[in-house]
Amino acid sequence: MPSANVTMTVREAAPRVRVVDIVGEITAFSEEEITRAHEEAARGGVDAVILNFEGLDYMNSGGIGLLVTTLIRAQRSGHRLLACGLTDHYRQILALTRIDEAIEVFDDEASAVAAV
């Protein structure tokens, strides 16, 4: 199995709001990494986790499945899951798959943070 070609780093953007910067690919192989990053971002309780896709260079349907899994985890922990920094192409894919009805999508990090 090829390694996950992705790094995810967590930082605080505002009180109780953490951002996950995603650099690389989101495929079925990214499961471990996204699980770890989301846990880290949610640690101690937050109002929202923002997935920042500015560094994304590839996402497939396996990766979309992981977003849904992450969404389920966020709902269980009682915080919102937001997304920002998506290209038009991936924004369209989230719209076609109607993921954007459950994960709010913003142009950039600042507007995502402001919306929390």
Binding site: S61, V68, I93, R98
Partner: protein, 526 residues
């Protein structure tokens, strides 16, 4: 008054009518029906009371029978001017002739009995009718059940084609049927038929005919041979005076070629740019006599052309004035373009027949349209210039390499970023599917990729070794279902592929399975 008289007569006779007479002397006269229109009926209706048989001079078989039975007096039972029945009386037990008093008494009795008789008759008729209605309802239910069980549950899903069907049974379920038979090499068999007669017998013949067609369709590539075989098989099986009209068409969904034969069914109509074309092919209905030949008709469907198959429940529907819908109207409606031909035809028929019309016969419609994009793909498939051809091993993640190489191959074509990204996602999902599903993730198997281009389109063909396996259906993403664990992202991948490119076609040859992704080159096609 009646009772009074009766009592008086009894006392006059010194007791009841049979007093002092042994019962053995009485005899029951068998009922002798009086057929409507018999001269005796006329006499009894106009007599105004009991009629002595000896006084009658009539040429009537009934009167002869009445005389032969030893009847002396007929007491007509009349209600509302109709002869409801008659009492036949033999000679009086006292051997005296019937007196005028006797006749008056009997006449009075008859006047009282007749209405009660009528009521009893009506009740009996109603009970018989209700029983018959119940039996018919039950039979209709069984017939409808047989028919519904055998009609296709799903419509064929073929890229570049749109197939739709409509079936609405009449209350007295006729014998309409239709069927889709998947054949080798991406061909599709389409059946529409009608069994003469209704109810359970028709439904059973339909079931037999359907199985015969399905079996013959796998044996012969020619529709005329299929119909000839079914005809020969059906003749010894089918009840006398029953037969089946049936049209069988084989559609080559790649090239658009249609070959059909027709066993006396409604003509199929082809909606084309130049109007409606009737596809005539001569042939006798199935089940009449063995050894029949069926003519074959060929037609190549172009993009945007629509084939309409109907049953006579449509053409023979009537408007409130009794005028028939007819072939002329059907053809005129088919000639007008419609987004959904089935809906357009049904609407047209309903507005013709009027809101209160009871549907006289089953209505069946099968509509097969070749979509515009299919033409694009037909031009591209295997045609044009091969830009690149390569293979990746069936290991998860290798779709990335395929996408990168495909992108390099199409770089000179100058796709804009948006279209290129869409093509990349489509190729990625298709290759993933080939790896995981088609080749079941077996690394020794390869996924072949060919990149073709014409002036108009780019075509990427992805081939795996899963030709014998069924192709999964794309799933429309439903987040609720996904959250409930009812959907997997794999089905979403296929859904995305269809959204990313202009057309998706797939072909299987039993060992390999090829998906072709078509994207128009901007400016080349409108």
């Amino acid at each position: 008054m009646m009772l009074e008289r009766l009592r008086r007569r009894r006392s006059e006779n010194g007791g009841g009518p049979a007093a002092g007479t042994p019962l053995s002397q009485t005899r029951l006269i068998d009922p002798i029906p009086i057929p409507p229109g018999d001269p005796l009926e006329t006499v009894l209706l106009s007599a105004g009371g009991p009629v002595g048989v000896a006084d009658l001079e009539l040429v009537s078989g009934t009167l002869d029978a009445v005389r032969a039975a030893g009847v002396e007096l007929i007491v007509p039972l009349i209600g509302q001017g109709e002869l409801i029945g008659a009492l036949y009386l033999g000679p009086r037990l006292s051997d005296q002739p019937y007196s005028s008093d006797d006749r008056r008494l009997l006449g009075g009795l008859a006047a009282q009995v007749a209405p009660a008789m009528r009521v009893a008759q009506l009740i009996r008729e109603q009970q018989a009718e209700a029983k018959e209605r119940e039996r018919i309802e039950q039979e209709l239910k069984v017939a409808a059940l047989i028919q519904q069980t055998l009609l296709p549950k799903e419509l064929p899903s073929i890229p570049g084609w749109h197939v739709s069907a409509f079936y609405r049974p009449a209350r007295a379920v006729g014998g309409d049927f239709y069927d889709f038979i998947p054949l080798a090499d991406g061909r599709l068999g389409v059946v529409i038929g009608d069994v003469t007669d209704k109810g359970v017998p028709a439904a059973l013949v339909m079931a037999t005919c359907r199985s015969m067609l399905r079996s013959a369709a796998q044996k012969h590539d020619s529709p005329s041979k299929v119909l000839a075989e079914v005809n020969d098989a059906l003749v010894p099986e089918i009840p006398a005076a029953m037969f089946v009209t049936c049209l069988y068409a084989i559609i080559d969904t790649g090239a658009g070629d249609v070959v059909l034969a027709n066993a006396g069914h409604n003509l199929p109509y082809m909606q084309t740019e130049d109007g409606v074309v009737e596809l005539r092919a001569a042939g006798m209905p199935l089940g009449l006599m063995p050894g029949m030949d069926y003519e074959e008709k060929r037609y190549t469907m172009g993009s945007g052309e629509t084939m309409v198959l109907t049953s006579d429940g449509i053409t023979e529907a009537h408007d409130p004035d009794g005028e028939m819908y007819g072939f002329g109207r059907l053809m005129a409606r088919v000639a007008r373009r419609a987004d959904d031909m089935v809906v357009a035809l049904v609407d047209d028929l309903e507005s013709f027949a009027g809101p209160d019309a009871e549907q006289e016969d089953d209505i069946t419609l099968v509509v097969v349209r070749r979509s515009h994009s299919a033409q694009v793909s037909a031009m591209a498939f295997g045609a044009g210039e091969l830009l690149d051809s390569f293979a990746v091993r069936s290991e998860e993640g290798n779709e990335r390499a395929a996408v990168t190489r495909m992108a390099e191959a199409v770089a000179p074509l100058g796709f804009d970023r948006r279209d290129l990204e869409r093509l990349q996602t489509a190729v990625a999902e298709t290759v993933m599917n080939a790896i995981e599903h088609g080749n079941e993730g077996r690394p020794e198997l390869e996924v072949g990729v060919e990149v073709w281009a014409t002036d108009d389109v780019v075509s990427v063909r992805v081939t795996d070794q899963g030709g014998a396996r069924e192709i999964p259906e794309p799933q429309t993403p439903d987040l609720e279902a996904k959250l409930a664990g009812l959907q997997t992202p794999r089905g979403w991948g296929l859904f995305l592929v269809e959204k990313m490119v202009d057309d998706v076609r797939s072909t299987s040859d039993g060992s390999t399975h090829t998906v072709e992704l078509i994207m128009k080159r901007k400016g080349a096609l409108r």
